[in-house]
Symmetry: C2
Subunit: 207 residues, 2 copies
């Protein structure tokens, strides 16, 4: 069994996870000190030593940024879920993170991309189900047939994207839901990003 971390040590470890998984590169002592407002790197140095002693990280001596995570749950890193998104009819999107999902370490988020939990079954014919986590990349241009996340009157939807002469059509795979046609100059419409992947954790019975 692993020893308990103190609150401060926990927050430092969380910062490490955040940087390593999020930014992709471990921070330096100075980075951490700056983030927590420490006037000295030695403070961080000691925290690292304590955290390592408790077995949560592994340091490579002398190496800059030589910090490795050795979490038991190495395979699962908590990640914020920014909101829920309707695959069927629009659902209100939440302003802040509503939850965290245990994403495997394999799932390091690409820059600026984010997670949304899907609600509803309008995409079930595309094999996306209620509860699945979609990985959304906001930096890609939508192409016809791709699944996109779009904002429509302050709600978010996940649907297939089709460009038409008179505007944009959003289509559900599930025929129960009728396609939505958006006029070219409709003001409160915006494609948030492209769904680049779907992830589902297999902890419990899927459902």
């Amino acid at each position: 069994m692993q020893k308990e971390l103190t609150e401060i040590q926990k927050s430092i470890l969380n910062f490490l996870i955040d940087q390593i998984k999020g930014k992709g590169i471990p921070p330096t002592l100075a980075d951490v000190a700056k983030h927590f407002g420490y006037k000295n790197r030695a403070t961080v140095q000691q925290h690292f030593k304590a955290i390592e002693k408790k077995g949560y990280i592994k340091k490579s001596p002398k190496l800059s940024r030589g910090i490795e995570l050795t979490l038991e749950e190495k395979f699962f890193v908590p990640r914020p879920v920014l909101g829920e998104v309707a695959a069927g009819n629009p659902l209100t999107i939440y302003p802040d993170a509503i939850d965290t999902v245990e994403l495997p370490t394999i799932a390091r988020m690409p820059k600026d991309s984010f997670l949304l939990r899907v609600k509803g079954d309008s995409l079930k014919d595309a094999y996306i189900f209620s509860g699945d986590i979609v990985i959304v990349n906001p930096n890609l241009e939508p192409k016809n047939g791709q699944i996109v996340v779009a904002i429509l009157d302050d709600a978010a939807v996940v649907k297939r994207f089709y460009k038409k002469r008179n505007g944009i059509e959003l289509v559900s795979e599930n025929p129960e839901y009728k396609p939505i046609l958006i006029d070219k100059k409709y003001p409160s419409f915006k494609v948030v990003g492209i769904v680049v992947g779907v992830y589902r954790s297999m902890g419990k019975k899927a459902g």
Copy 2:
């Protein structure tokens, strides 16, 4: 359009990708120099400058290990798929990588885990479909109810795992497939690993 890299520049970029994606942390100039047998960091320094000029990487000045990849295909790094695995009836597993799947950069493999592409529909009630990539962790002990990959007479199956008094039972979600009961001392049976996640890339229409 991006300018062509020279052979040496290419090999250096490959090393960078390898380190960043594989080891998780970008190398220092000294690391690269050592790897290629350069007596001097300045050589690497110049190569970096050239590669950056051609737009393949982005350097953060003064920052140690401050190298970012700016590849177009940044989001997709080829990964070997070790074989196909039957969700329904056993399918022969392939000895070597049969294919590569474009996993997003977000998908950096956890140590020792591997990918299998699912064939068949016996897990469709667990929302795993033909074509999905399952992430398999061979370092976890199977618990009742978890989905495992198992070898059975030189074929591999993906099924739910249940420990019984008289042996091990492998169950499909799909009732069309009957549970398989394996005797305790059955020689050619082995649980390869636990399915820790399912990933599906959204490039084309799923199917």
